[in-house]
C-alpha cells in the first residue's frame, strides 16, 4: 500500500529537525537550502537516512528539482508509490 503523503511529510520533518536548531519551524514551503541551511553534503546524508527510513532508493539525479520540504516529500511519495 502506498504510504500517505502526510505521513511522509511528518517523518521527513522529524529527520530534518536533526539538521536544524530546535526553534526552527518547518513547514512544507520551507526552503531546504536557504532556510534550513542544508548544503549539498548534508542533503546527500539526509537522503541516505530517508532511503533507509522508507526502504527506497532516491537517485541523485532526482534531487536537482528539490528545493523545498514539499518537493522532497513529494519525491519520496512518488518513488514509494511507484514500488
Amino acid at each position: 500500500m502506498a504510504t500517505d503523503y502526510n505521513d511522509i511529510l511528518l517523518r521527513l520533518c522529524f529527520h530534518l529537525k536533526q539538521f536544524t536548531s530546535p526553534d526552527v519551524i518547518i513547514i512544507p514551503e520551507t526552503d531546504l537550502i536557504n532556510e534550513l541551511a542544508i548544503d549539498s553534503v548534508k542533503l546527500l546524508n539526509l537522503v541516505m537516512e530517508i532511503e533507509d527510513e522508507f526502504d527506497i532508493s532516491v537517485p541523485l539525479n532526482a534531487l536537482a528539482d528539490v528545493q523545498t520540504v514539499h518537493d522532497l516529500a513529494n519525491l519520496i511519495h512518488h518513488i514509494k508509490s511507484a514500488k
Binding site: 548544503d39 549539498s40 553534503v41 548534508k42 546527500l44 537522503v47 541516505m48 532511503e51 533507509d52 526502504d55 527506497i56 532508493s57 532516491v58 537517485p59 541523485l60 539525479n61
Partner: protein, 395 residues
C-alpha cells in the same frame, strides 16, 4: 542572479574563508628540483602532496623516452584518435597495459578523469543504474551525470549498505554498474573488494574499479588492489591514471570483456578530445616497465608511509582508517586545517588542503601523499614539524 553574479558569490565565499594573499589553491611553484623538492616563492619546499608515489617524474628512462618521442613525433597529435589516427605509441601502450593485467584488451585515454568519464558514460545510459561509493572521486560523479543513468550512492566502504541498495533495485540490479576505488583519494583507505565482488556476482551486476591511487602501490607487480587481493577475475573493468605512480598524464581501462573496444565508437570523452601527446605516452610506457619491476620502490614507499602514519597517529592527529601513501589528517574546522596547512608551508612542507564540500562528512583535511623518493630522514623531519604545530595550533 546573473551568470557573473554567481561567480562573484563564489569569490566572496572563498574570500570569507581564506586569508588575503594566501594562495591555497594552485600555489605557484617557481622551480622543480626533483620528484620531492621545489621552490615556492623564495623557499625550498618538500613535496608531500603530489601523488608521485613511486617518484618517477625524473626517472632517466622516462625522461629519455619522452625526449626521443618529442624529437621523432612532435609536440602533439593535434586531434582525436578517431579523426587523426592512433600513433604507434598509443597502440603499444594499450597492448602493454592489457599484458600487464593479463587482460583481453585495453584503451588509453587522455587523462585519468576522462577514463572514468568515458567508461561510466559509455557503459551506462538512461534507464540503467550506477551504484557508487559516497566518497567517490569527482570524475566518477561526473561520469555518472554524463551517462544519464540513475545515480545511487552507498555509504563509504559499507558493503551491507551497498547490498541493501542492490536489493531495492530488484531486477534492475542486472543493469547496474557498481563503481569503487582501490584506494580512496581523500582518506587513503582501501575498498573491501572481496565483499564487493561477492555481492556484485550475487546480483549479476557489473563492477568497475578505479585503481588511480593504488596502481604501483598495491600488489606484487603494482597492478593495484586487484593484485593485492587476488581478485582480478572478479572485476569487470579496471580504470586508472598515468598522473600518479606513472608520473605522466593520461588514463586507461583494461578488461577481459571483448565489448570494451566498442567504447571507442560511443564514448564521447574518448572520441571528442585530442589524444595523448607522443612524449606523455612514451614516458608512461617507460614508467610502466619501472612500475612493474618496482618491488624495491614499493618497499620504500610503504616503509615511508608506515613511518609517517605511525608518527602522526602517536602525536594524536586524527587520521584516515588505514596506513598507506595517502595520509589524511582530519580536522574539525576549515580554520584549523588552514592553520595547519600554512604552518607546514612556512616550515617548507607542501601538502594538500581539502575544504568542504570536497572533504568527506563536511570535515576539512590536510592531506599528505608519501613517495618512494622520500627519505626516512625527511619523514622524521615532517613528523617533527607536525609535532611542533600540534603544540602551537591545537594546545
Amino acid at each position: 542572479m546573473s551568470l557573473l553574479d554567481k561567480l562573484d558569490a563564489v569569490a566572496a565565499a572563498r574570500k570569507a574563508l581564506l586569508p588575503e594573499g594566501l594562495e591555497v589553491f594552485g600555489t605557484p611553484i617557481e622551480e622543480v628540483y626533483s620528484a620531492t623538492e621545489a621552490r615556492v616563492g623564495d623557499r625550498r619546499i618538500l613535496f608531500l602532496g603530489t601523488n608521485n608515489y613511486l617518484g618517477l617524474t625524473f626517472a632517466p628512462e622516462c625522461l629519455q623516452a619522452a625526449h626521443e618521442a618529442l624529437d621523432k613525433e612532435g609536440t602533439g597529435t593535434t586531434g582525436s584518435r578517431m579523426a587523426n589516427g592512433s600513433y604507434s605509441g598509443h597502440r603499444a601502450l594499450e597492448r602493454e597495459f592489457a599484458d600487464f593485467y593479463h587482460c583481453h584488451s585495453g584503451i588509453v585515454f587522455t587523462t585519468g578523469y576522462q577514463a572514468n568519464l568515458a567508461m561510466i558514460s559509455g557503459l551506462a545510459g538512461a534507464g540503467d543504474v550506477v551504484l557508487i561509493d559516497g566518497d567517490s572521486h569527482a570524475s566518477i560523479y561526473d561520469g555518472c551525470r554524463l551517462s544519464g543513468a540513475e545515480i545511487i550512492r552507498f555509504r563509504h566502504n559499507d558493503v551491507a549498505d551497498m547490498e541493501k541498495r542492490l536489493r531495492r533495485l530488484g531486477e534492475r540490479s542486472r543493469s547496474t554498474l557498481i563503481v569503487a576505488e582501490g584506494i580512496y583519494s581523500m582518506l587513503g583507505d582501501q575498498a573491501p573488494l572481496a565483499e564487493i565482488v561477492s555481492i556484485k556476482n550475487a546480483y549479476n551486476s557489473i563492477l568497475l574499479l578505479d585503481e588511480a591511487h593504488s596502481l604501483g602501490v598495491l600488489g606484487k607487480t603494482g597492478q593495484g588492489l586487484v593484485e593485492e587481493t587476488g581478485l582480478i577475475d572478479g572485476v569487470d573493468f579496471i580504470t586508472g591514471t598515468f598522473s600518479k605512480s606513472l608520473g605522466s598524464i593520461g588514463g586507461y581501462c583494461v578488461s577481459n570483456h571483448p565489448q570494451l573496444d566498442q567504447l571507442r565508437y560511443i564514448s564521447r570523452p574518448y572520441i571528442f578530445t585530442a589524444s595523448p601527446s607522443p612524449a606523455t605516452i612514451a614516458s608512461a610506457r617507460a614508467a610502466l616497465k619501472l612500475l612493474r619491476d618496482g618491488t624495491e620502490l614499493r618497499r620504500q614507499l610503504w616503509q615511508n608511509s608506515r613511518q609517517l602514519y605511525a608518527r602522526l597517529k602517536a602525536l594524536g592527529y586524527q587520521l584516515g582508517p588505514q596506513p598507506g601513501p595517502v595520509i589524511a589528517n582530519i580536522l574539525d574546522s576549515p580554520q584549523q586545517a588552514l592553520m595547519l596547512w600554512k604552518g607546514l608551508l612556512d616550515h617548507g612542507i607542501y601538502v594538500n588542503l581539502i575544504l568542504p564540500p570536497a572533504a568527506p562528512e563536511g570535515k576539512a583535511l590536510v592531506r599528505c601523499s608519501v613517495s618512494a623518493a622520500h627519505t626516512s630522514e625527511q619523514m622524521d623531519h615532517v613528523g617533527d614539524v607536525f609535532a611542533e604545530l600540534r603544540k602551537s595550533i591545537f594546545q
